[in-house]
């Protein structure tokens, strides 16, 4: 099956692409298009062009990773399209086929996957104090440095139930709930997705002559100049 045929099986493409007229409204409103060399109008045009060679180029490119998924494009599109939804489907296919490791921004899927799925499966949250390190988020300021240094007492003052039993803010999510999340991942392809991301990333790290530790650190921190508008 061709790439276009595979792509249009995604419900986000079914919902998000109904004959784009290429007016460029999405690009005009897009926060990412102002910052990055990014043009969602062109992406929509390539996808509806049905040319598998061009779609593969897109799946291996930097450009599909620039979107911030704010969906400002959905509000403004005069044809009720959702370029942001089509981007999500392109990213999904790029990951499934291993094409994401061809681009610097695509390779960031590895640290993102480890951070998000790690938190969900271990704690039941997408973000958790035990993994949100101040050292990686110095923009959070001196107040957050203080907060993290006195985490339990600061959260106690805020009325949280940090890692406690029962309901409340930042409660410990019961093990049976975490077991159900793991079962959901197993049944719906979430676990297989993590395996695929790790497999393709290991191949790429080897090709680039890096250890996995170095590869993951550099995908999290490195940023080339090529991405930005003048």
């Amino acid at each position: 099956m061709g790439l276009y045929e595979e792509l249009i099986k995604d419900y986000r493409v079914k919902e998000g692409l109904h004959t784009c007229i290429n007016c460029g409204t999405c690009t005009a409103i897009c926060p990412a298009a102002e910052f990055y060399k990014y043009d969602p109008r062109k992406i929509m045009n390539i996808v509806q062009g049905k040319d598998d060679a061009q779609i593969e180029e897109l799946l291996r490119s930097e450009t599909i990773w620039y979107c911030g998924e704010c969906f400002s494009c959905v509000t403004r599109c005069p044809r009720k399209n959702g370029p942001g939804l089509v981007i999500m489907a392109l990213r999904d296919l790029s990951i499934r086929l291993g094409f994401f490791t061809s681009s610097e921004k695509g390779r960031q899927v590895l640290p993102l996957t480890h951070a998000m799925t790690g938190n969900i499966l271990k704690y039941g949250y997408c973000i958790h104090p035990k993994t949100f390190r101040w050292e990686d988020h110095q923009e959070s300021g001196p107040v957050w440095k203080w907060h993290t240094e006195h985490l339990e007492k600061s959260l106690e003052r805020q009325g949280a139930n940090y890692m406690g039993e029962g309901p409340g803010v930042l409660r410990r999510i019961p093990q049976e709930s975490l077991d159900e999340l793991k079962a959901i991942f197993d049944v719906t392809g979430g676990t297989e997705r993590i395996r695929l991301v790790e497999k393709f990333s290991e191949q790429k790290a080897k090709e680039m002559g890096m250890t996995m530790e170095e590869y993951e650190r550099r995908t999290f921190e490195d940023c080339s100049e090529e991405h930005f508008n003048e």
Partner: protein
């Protein structure tokens, strides 16, 4: 736009919000960054307004942030959503209220996609049964927690001790409202006022005595962008968007910003600190920043709660000038104390932006 046309659009985006009996689910980001805001939501709704707001410890993340970071498949996130609905069904509720805009968007997207593609809903039901042996009813009503505070805004104003008014001049304070993108940009009919004229926060500001500030980039994203923040290499995207908003609102001299999204108050607060460190520029008066609040924090101030019980000490931008303007009393020495006045030291200060 002619006035009648505006009225027509507005009438299309009214939303039915039941007055009681809500099943409450929490926000990953808000629990981390604004923990007292969620505690204040349950305090105000249960203890002040005497509403039935139910929470079970067995609920989890909705998976929305992981989904929008492109790290889990659509079927995975939808099955997590289905499990949340199953817990609601088992608890005997049919009104569902998430505390998170990303979640609200996630639930809205899931329900709308199932409505259009019933075969997908059937597959998710199978997934849920296979993985958790659970079944669910879809919520009869879905609202964001800011919708509920909007719904009860006049009751809060009546019970309030303060109004958003300058105590010296009697003039209304100038408030910027920032609506999280996933509240109504994807599904305008799900939000109060839609995507063009969202009224959920503006309604609170007006009821509590303030004046809403209009400015060119009012609807621009705060810059979260999911992977554009969670990967260190991408954070220039995030701060650039916040910078654009502040440059746009600066000439209108807002006294404060009110937000309804989990990430927005964090980014609008913290990127002001970063901009001040990088460029020396601050956007408030006299070297201060513009304070950024959650709607629960503003509601709590109006109702007369102690600012430090509301968690305002976790903001990087100082809130004291705003409190002084209204005439809200506070103990400066208690700002960074722990429970029972325990000394847990205090944070360092920014280089450029004034803070206490």
């Amino acid at each position: 736009m002619i006035y009648e046309g505006k009225q027509k659009i507005w009438s299309d985006y009214q939303k039915e919000i039941p007055d009681d009996h809500w099943y409450y689910v929490r926000s990953c980001i808000r629990q981390n960054f604004f923990p007292a805001s969620e505690r204040m939501f349950t305090e105000i709704t249960k203890n002040v307004l005497k509403k039935d707001i139910y929470e079970t410890p067995y609920h989890t993340t909705c998976g929305g942030i992981a989904y929008h970071c492109d790290t889990i498949p659509q079927e995975t996130v939808m099955t997590i959503v289905a499990r949340q609905f199953a817990l609601m069904t088992e608890a005997g509720y049919e009104n569902y209220v998430p505390s998170c805009i990303t979640s609200f968007g996630n639930y809205s997207e899931t329900l709308e996609t199932w409505r259009e593609f019933p075969e997908l809903e059937a597959r998710i039901r199978e997934n849920l049964w296979k993985s958790c042996r659970r079944e669910f009813n879809k919520p009869k009503y879905l609202a964001h927690s800011s919708d509920l505070i909007y719904h009860w805004r006049n009751e809060i104003a009546q019970k309030g001790k303060f109004r958003l008014v300058d105590k010296e001049t009697g003039e209304p304070l100038r408030i910027v409202e920032h609506i999280g993108c996933h509240y109504a940009k994807m599904f305008p009919h799900k939000g109060v006022g839609g995507a063009e004229y969202p009224y959920v926060l503006a309604g609170m500001v007006e009821s509590w005595g303030g004046q809403v500030v209009d400015y060119p980039e009012r609807r621009h994203c705060c810059g979260y962008g999911f992977r554009q923040y969670h990967v260190k290499a991408n954070r220039g995207y995030s701060v650039s968007n916040t910078y654009k908003k502040f440059e746009s609102m600066e000439p209108f001299h807002p006294d404060a910003i009110i937000t309804n999204c989990p990430g927005c108050p964090y980014f609008l607060d913290r990127w002001q600190y970063v901009i001040s460190e990088q460029t020396g520029k601050t956007y408030g008066r006299n070297g201060f920043g513009i304070p950024v609040f959650t709607y629960e924090e503003i509601a709590g101030l109006v109702l007369g709660y102690d600012p430090w019980d509301l968690g305002l000490q976790l903001h990087q931008v100082a809130v004291e000038p705003f409190l002084d303007k209204i005439g809200i009393e506070y103990d400066p020495k208690a700002k960074y104390l722990g429970l029972n006045k325990e000394d847990i030291l205090r944070p360092g200060l920014p280089t450029s932006m004034k803070c206490f």
